[in-house]
Each structure stands twice: as structure tokens, then as C-alpha cells.
Symmetry: C2
Subunit: 110 residues, 2 copies
DNA sequence: TCCATATTTCATGAAATATGGAATTGATTG
DNA sequence: CAATCAATTCCATATTTCATGAAATATGGA
């Protein structure tokens, strides 16, 4: 991952509507959600949402797929993975015990 | 973690200088770096850096500690942990295989 | 083709953010 | 206490970002 990609991703998530959208899609999982559903769930105008979705898309955080008249969006877990890897690059520098707890905690209680 | 904290953290990392600073501190690990060292390493002015450090500080991504005339900064791994946990909240929803790879990747090859 | 639904694109004004210069606070040394 | 080094705060300017409304595009059904 390039620094530019990471910047795009972080600033994409650093905005209220987009963070909500992304977390919603994380919860939706493999089923994803149509743009209209997202707009309804979050009470955001279509054009505003569309613009924010395109920013998340460009940042590699979501994918989309046309489905008839609708466009269905999905959280892109690979994108998050790359982002975290970039952020924590060389974190260990001889001290694995520093970063390991960070990873353990996230072991999302599924 | 509250949504506001997550927004602050993501938008803190969504800016060139701050992302560089944070990654530098991640690499520095437990030793941390003095503000002046960081400014020198990244070729950023004192006041600009100071401002950016205070934003990272408020976002819970770094900690600091006065050391004589200098102020030493450290990456706050707990902050990152909380941020990721928030982002991936309820990611599993019956499909652990979706999010697990995200976490595995971060198992930084130390 | 005509129409309704779903989404995207574009231009605009308002608000937020980044940067640099100058002044200021805090800590150490002589 | 004066001089100096380290970092922060204050302020003005330039830039970027954001939500909005209007218009455009795309799909599916009658």
C-alpha cells in the first residue's frame, strides 16, 4: 500500500457519514446493502450519500455491484487489512510484546 | 470508544504529516522520540509539528512525557486497538471467516 | 417509447483545516 | 538572573472539504 492510499482511506473514515456507512456495511457483511437502503438507514440524502460512497470506493474501503436498478455496496475487508498493515509497519522493531496486545484485542468476539 | 473519538482518530491519521509522525513513532516503539527529533526527521517546522502532535494527542493515538527541555512522544498502541475494535464492531454477524483474515494479516511479521 | 425508480454528476457557498511568522512559556546552563 | 534551547500558542491567510439543489444517467416495466 502506498502512503497516498492510506491517506485517502483514513480521511475517508474521518468523516461522520462515511464512518457510519462503513460500519453499517461491516455489520451487513457479505450481503451488503443497496445505496438506497443505506441512505434510508442513515437518513442521508441520495446525492450526499452517493458522493460519500464514491469516496469510500476510491479509498478501497468498499466495493460495489449493480443489481438491477440498485447498486449494492460491500465493505472491502481486504482494504482494511492493507491499511492496518501499512499503519503498523515495522511496529515490532525487536519488541513483539508491544504490538501483539493490539492484535489480540481485536479478535472480535464472534 | 465513542464515535467522536474514532472520527478524531481517523481524521488525525488522514493527514500527511500526522500519518508520517505516527508511523515514525510506531517504528520508534517504546523509546519514542522527542518533538525536535521528529521535526528534524520529517523536515517540518516546530509550530506545525507541535500543532499536529497535539491533534494526535487529542485523538488518543500518541502519548507524551516531558524529559528535561524536550517532550518525548510515543505511539499509543491502546488507542489503535480501541479504534480497530470500534471499526470492526459486529463484523462477524455469523460469518467469522470474513473478518478473520483482516486480523491475521496484521500479525506483523516480527 | 414513455414513465418511474435508483443513482450519479456538477457547481456553489459555507465551514473546517493547514501553514507560516511572531510572540510566549518552560527548562537548563553559566 | 541572563542567555539559550525546546516546544507551544496565537493569529492571519490560503486551501480543502462538505452538504445541498438541480440536472443527468441508467435500469426496468407498461
Amino acid at each position: 500500500m502506498e502512503k497516498t492510499d492510506a491517506l485517502n482511506a483514513f480521511s475517508a473514515l474521518g468523516q461522520d457519514t462515511r464512518l457510519e456507512v462503513f460500519r453499517l456495511l461491516v455489520k451487513a457483511g457479505a450481503e451488503g446493502m443497496a445505496a438506497g437502503e443505506i441512505a434510508g438507514a442513515l437518513d442521508v440524502r441520495q446525492n450526499t450519500l452517493s458522493n460519500n460512497l464514491s469516496i469510500l470506493l476510491a479509498a478501497g474501503l468498499v466495493r460495489n455491484e449493480r443489481e438491477g436498478r440498485s447498486v449494492r455496496y460491500f465493505a472491502d475487508f481486504d482494504g482494511v487489512r492493507g491499511l492496518l498493515a501499512f499503519l503498523m509497519e515495522d511496529c515490532c522493531a525487536g519488541k513483539p510484546e508491544l504490538c501483539q496486545p493490539v492484535l489480540d484485542q481485536i479478535a472480535c468476539a464472534c
